[in-house]
């Protein structure tokens, strides 16, 4: 099976400034690929290149093994970061228009739009104008506009920003559903918890360069586990005296312990069990947030 989307050492320069420096990545069918980075790191430029809006200066982008062509546009869906629809045009008119521009027939577009409106439980928006909807609902319509034509490759730029938790869950569930149907999704966000939940592979960009790339679980393994969460009924004293413990923080129900060596975990647990009753013991893996700040934050300093 050919990879639906492959970037091979793609580079883009705007005048003197390098916007994207030799990024390579692959998105498989049925995968959500996370593209992370601080503002101005080159995420949007990368996405625009994938969409064929701007052409890379160097490197290749292959879609199912083939280079970009106009016919591919119908197979791609895009939800831009600053999303927009015609404010004064009816939802049905403009979404069907966009669907038809991407090669659907009127009947298919109608059916697909109805399906999606039902999916989001807002069939009554069919005849509403965009300006009549709340911001969150406008965003849902923008999402529908991006997926209405059943794209093989879906590009979501900050898909969940500005939504309330209920709608975030709804959209997340939808994205997962699309993934399970075999769509390749390139996904960018600042919200690390979404990435941890959705993505298998990630790339972290920092000022045009790829700083970290790979399988999310592998990446996490590469980072030492540095934190232990311990909840006990009584007090445990002298934890900070153990070898490999850096800092002990008293929490509401127990302790948060920074360690430099994972081997010390055993002795911490033993000591805790000796002195009190253990309610909860966890060697926490580093959150993506921490990794991100470590990788990107440090360079900025």
């Amino acid at each position: 099976m050919v990879t639906p989307l492959m970037l091979d050492k793609v580079m883009k320069q705007f005048g003197e400034k390098t916007a994207v420096n030799e990024i390579s990545l692959q998105v498989e069918a049925g995968e959500i690929y996370g593209l992370l980075g601080a503002n101005g790191a080159g995420k949007t430029t990368t996405m625009r290149m994938v969409l064929g809006l701007i052409y890379p200066d160097d490197g290749r982008i292959l879609y199912h093994g083939k280079p970009f062509s106009k016919e591919l546009q119908g197979g791609m869906g895009y939800l831009p970061e600053e999303r927009g629809l015609y404010p004064k045009v009816k939802v049905s008119d403009q979404i069907k228009y966009l669907a038809k521009l991407r090669g659907m027939t009127e009947a298919e577009a109608e059916k697909s739009l109805r399906y999606w409106l039902d999916r989001f439980e807002v069939p009554e928006y069919y005849d509403k104008r965009i300006e009549e909807l709340s911001k969150g609902n406008q965003q849902k319509m923008g999402f529908i506009a991006a997926v209405v034509h059943k794209p093989k490759i879906l590009i979501l730029d900050e898909a969940f920003s500005g939504l309330d938790p209920v709608n975030v869950e709804l959209l997340k569930a939808t994205v997962k559903e699309l993934r399970d149907e075999g769509t390749s999704i390139l996904f960018s966000t600042h919200r690390m918890e979404h990435v941890e939940e959705l993505c298998r592979n990630i790339t972290i960009l920092d000022r045009s360069n790829t700083v970290l790339q790979g399988n999310l679980r592998d990446i996490k393994k590469r980072y030492p586990r540095e934190e232990i969460l311990l909840y006990t009924t009584g007090e445990v004293n002298g934890l900070e005296l153990l070898d490999g413990v850096e800092r002990v923080e008293r929490k509401e129900r127990g302790y948060s312990i920074r360690i430099s060596d994972v081997a010390v975990a055993k002795s911490i647990l033993r000591k805790a069990m000796d002195e009190s009753e253990v309610e909860h013991f966890e060697i926490k893996e580093p959150t993506l947030n921490q990794i991100f700040i470590r990788e990107v934050g440090e360079v900025h300093e």
Partner: protein, 425 residues
């Protein structure tokens, strides 16, 4: 092709539905209707309001002159004036003037012995009504002629003396006689009126639809739907879809206006009052109309591409007015060259303008209507126009392609060139 028709359809459908379009079309149609009715209203008001004005005529010192005036005035077929005889400027006269029975009175005032006396018109108002004055003047002129010649001329001679000298305008053409006489026919008032209507229509349509195109493009950019659009179709398809869609809007509007004009003109009472203006549409040369249409379409596309390009450069609607200014100026210049040269359609300025692509659509229509352009001039001008449409269309497409992705402040030409290079367009 399918996508193009899609864009055209969407542009057309949404524009037709907007309130602004409905209102402008309605208002303009209403203005047209009123404009066509103006002659009728003038007839109506001037006919009803006045009736003959009553004016007193004082006989006292010059009874023979007063008699002669009454005689000459009596000869007129139509008159808006009734003369009433008074012997003296006495109490009766003052009373009648006061009561409004007469609007004023005429009096001959002695100057010196031999010459014609001065004529005073005395009334309570400062002025004298235009038609009344003309009528009185004509009658008095005859009285004066009679007074001076004192019967030494026959009536026929006097009439001859009073008739104005007519100048018959004839044009010497290089072609043979038959052609020359036909050419003379071309200078009919209909052609003049139609030319004027055509260039106003052309100018208005270009300005209105052009501004709509630019505004739409900017709105799409500022609402960020542009990013979704350009990932769905090529910018070129979008630009031309929009231009053609707007063109259809413009055509629809023109058809509505023409329809309004035709309906209004065919109303029976309007035909009556318009007869005086000798508008006969059968006099019109169909070739002028067809070529006019060709120029209209070409001119529209030339300007429309520019408007689209400018619209794509601007991120916010507020900045648009300033940005389209150069194009507005250009079309205004074309309009004024065309309309001011109507009296001299074959001047050097017009001939040069025929080869300037932005001016030729308007100036050539004028020249075809009331001037005599040679056919090779028309052909060259159309070719120049076609080439420039191609060049500017190509350039605009490039600008559009780049501009729609540039946000923030309006880019300078240098920034635009840089961006074009960067985007590899």
């Amino acid at each position: 092709m399918n996508k193009l028709s899609n864009v055209i359809g969407f542009t057309f459908k949404n524009k037709v539905k907007t309130k602004s379009f409905l209102i402008t079309t309605l208002v303009l149609a209403l203005l047209l209707t009123i404009g066509i009715h103006v002659p009728y209203f003038i007839d109506k008001f001037s006919g009803q309001e006045s009736g003959p004005v009553s004016i007193g005529l004082v006989y006292s010192d010059y009874p023979e002159l007063a008699n002669s005036l009454e005689k000459h005035h009596g000869k007129l077929a139509v008159s808006g004036l009734k003369l009433t005889k008074y012997e003296q400027t006495d109490g009766q006269l003052a009373k009648d003037l006061e009561s409004g029975k007469i609007a004023g009175y005429l009096q001959f005032v002695k100057a010196n012995e031999e010459s014609f006396p001065e004529v005073d018109y005395i009334s309570k108002k400062d002025s004298i009504k235009g038609e009344v004055q003309t009528e009185l003047q004509a009658a008095l002129q005859s009285v004066k002629t009679e007074f001076i010649t004192k019967g030494s001329l026959t009536d026929a001679q006097v009439a001859e003396l009073n008739a104005p000298v007519a100048i018959n305008v004839q044009k010497l053409s290089a072609q043979d006689g038959a052609e020359a006489s036909k050419d003379d026919n071309d200078f009919s008032p209909v052609d003049f009126a139609v030319m004027y209507a055509l260039i106003i229509l052309l100018f208005m349509t270009i300005m209105m639809t052009g501004n709509m195109i630019a505004a739409e493009v900017t709105a799409e950019k500022s609402s960020r739907i542009m990013e979704i659009l350009i990932t769905s179709t090529s910018p070129l398809t979008q630009m031309f879809g929009k231009i053609i869609g707007m063109f259809l809007i413009g055509l629809l509007q023109i058809f509505i206006f023409v329809g309004v004009v035709v309906i209004n003109l065919s109303l029976p009472y309007n035909q009556e009052s318009l007869k005086g203006y000798s508008l006969d549409f059968s006099q019109m040369d169909p070739a002028v109309l067809i070529l006019g249409l060709v120029y209209f379409i070409l001119g529209y596309f030339l300007y429309a591409t520019l408007f689209a390009a400018v619209g794509s450069l601007v991120s916010r609607t507020e900045e648009l007015g300033q940005a389209v200014m150069p194009i507005t100026m250009l079309s205004l210049a074309a309009f004024y060259i065309g309309s001011f040269s109507m009296s001299a359609p074959d001047s050097i300025l017009m001939k040069v303008s025929n080869y300037v692509p932005f001016f030729s659509p308007i100036t050539m229509i004028v020249r075809m209507g009331i001037g005599t352009p040679k056919s090779w001039e028309i052909i060259i001008s159309i070719v120049v126009l076609l080439i420039s449409i191609y060049v500017f269309g190509w350039l605009s497409a490039k600008i559009y392609r780049t501009g729609v992705l540039l946000y923030g402040k309006r880019p300078t030409f240098k920034e635009l060139r840089k961006a074009m290079k960067a985007y590899k367009i």
